[in-house]
Symmetry: C2
DNA sequence: GAGACACTCTAACACTGTACGACTTACCCG
DNA sequence: CGGGTAAGTCGTACAGTGTTAGAGTGTCTC
């Protein structure tokens, strides 16, 4: 394991040339965002986490917005896009959708950041490429694979975005989901009285397990969308 | 027009009791957000726009986040939800979707804000209520109207969110859409070389009219989703 | 050995959201 | 009519933000 006469003094190439690398910064930023939310990411706090002055970060990253862009692309790498040969196009699309949803739930700051600047990082492009491959293999031609993938991603993003907004509020309150719902209904939502149907919806979310209800809602829309895709496949009688 | 001896000095009742009302503040905030984006909204700038000290705003609004919540709900009022009796459930849903999309495009900051806190203002609830009525009238029962509406809104939100991200970047560059696309491809996206299919998609967006392409993509997904809903209507043979 | 380079840090600037307390009115009650 | 209470506005101030400029450190190359 150790060469003879190897010691700190004889070693010629101390491996860590820099105190931090951009990859480390990005990873730490994602951690911080996960833990403390979008407003919790501060250059000084991030520097502290890496035992480095805040301004040091600016050597590796031009601006905080750029850092966010890096963070977004890093997270994109966590979404896996199965090839269509494994589960068929519908299975592959389903897996992609669920993987994307859980990635967003793991990184709740994602939707708010994504909707400000478009994502053109390498991981985002790889996702697009592999995602389009699913629908090309399914038989879509021309611009259809692009449109189909865009629709799928839009749905997942919107759905997960709402879900994340809900989860964030519950988490920030420190209460359990049913508790939160009850309190919110009782105290803070007198407006709901005017809309009994909406009130019922919110109430149910307090009684039954809210998370399985979110799952059901997500799957419902996903299946509907995929049915719509299937009906658009060339070779389908209408 | 003027009473005898009316002057600044004799006048006893200056009609405007308050210098600003909350409604005015919210409206000005929306305007500022539309013009300068989320980062452009500043309490001091907003105060200046209303000829009022920044701290005065805090009498009418507890916090900047609260102000954003008011702004979101104010914008929700612009989305119109037709009753199902007018255009049938599918027509009504289509109109709702398009109205929501154009509202978001008019207020590009909306998606980023919406995904941080859930919306429970009166206009948001009215939208939910009337939206669910569409699908109830269509024949959906139980929790299905809620799920269907959630899916529709999720899709619109996600789709418009991506669109807005794109539009914002193009607008911020000050260039025309094709110009922007060309430059972005040429200079800033060497990563695209590794994904020729993605590159083609981006390139086409530069050649053809990008806005009609966005329309097409939006409509494609919307129709697919509505087809999926139709297939789920009770009384449909599968 | 010397100079260039990569990297880090301290100090500072302009600006942010917001708390506090003082000030000016308009209104109500005796 | 007179005084007190509340509503509303403002100046000041504070802690914290992203970011710049310049000085400093060490390492690599000739």
């Amino acid at each position: 394991m150790m060469a003879p006469m190897d010691s700190v003094w004889t070693r010629t190439q101390p491996p860590p040339r820099d105190k931090v690398t951009r990859a480390q910064i990005v990873r730490a930023a994602v951690d911080l965002l996960d833990d403390e939310g979008l407003a919790g990411l501060t250059m000084r706090k991030l520097g502290g986490k890496l035992s480095v002055a805040a301004t040091t970060l600016y050597w590796h990253v031009q601006t905080k917005d750029d850092l966010l862009e890096y963070a977004v692309d890093a997270v994109y790498a966590e979404i896996d896009v199965p090839g269509p040969e494994l589960a068929g196009w519908r299975g592959a699309a389903t897996l992609l959708a669920h993987s994307m949803r859980s990635t967003i739930i793991r990184h709740p700051w994602l939707p708010a950041v994504i909707n400000q600047r478009i994502s053109v990082g390498p991981n985002a492009m790889a996702l697009s490429s592999r995602g389009m491959a699913i629908f090309s293999a399914a038989g879509f031609t021309g611009r259809d694979p692009e449109k189909t993938l865009a629709a799928l991603i839009s749905y997942v993003l919107g759905s997960a975005g709402s879900e994340v907004a809900w989860r964030t509020m519950v988490k920030a309150s420190g209460k359990s989901a049913p508790e939160w719902t009850d309190e919110a209904l009782a105290q803070a939502l007198p407006a709901a009285e005017a809309f009994p149907d909406v009130r019922d919806v919110l109430e149910q979310r307090g009684r039954r397990n809210p998370y399985t209800m979110l799952d059901e809602t997500f799957t419902f829309g996903l299946e509907a969308l995929l049915d719509g895709f299937a009906a658009r496949l060339p070779g389908t009688w209408t």
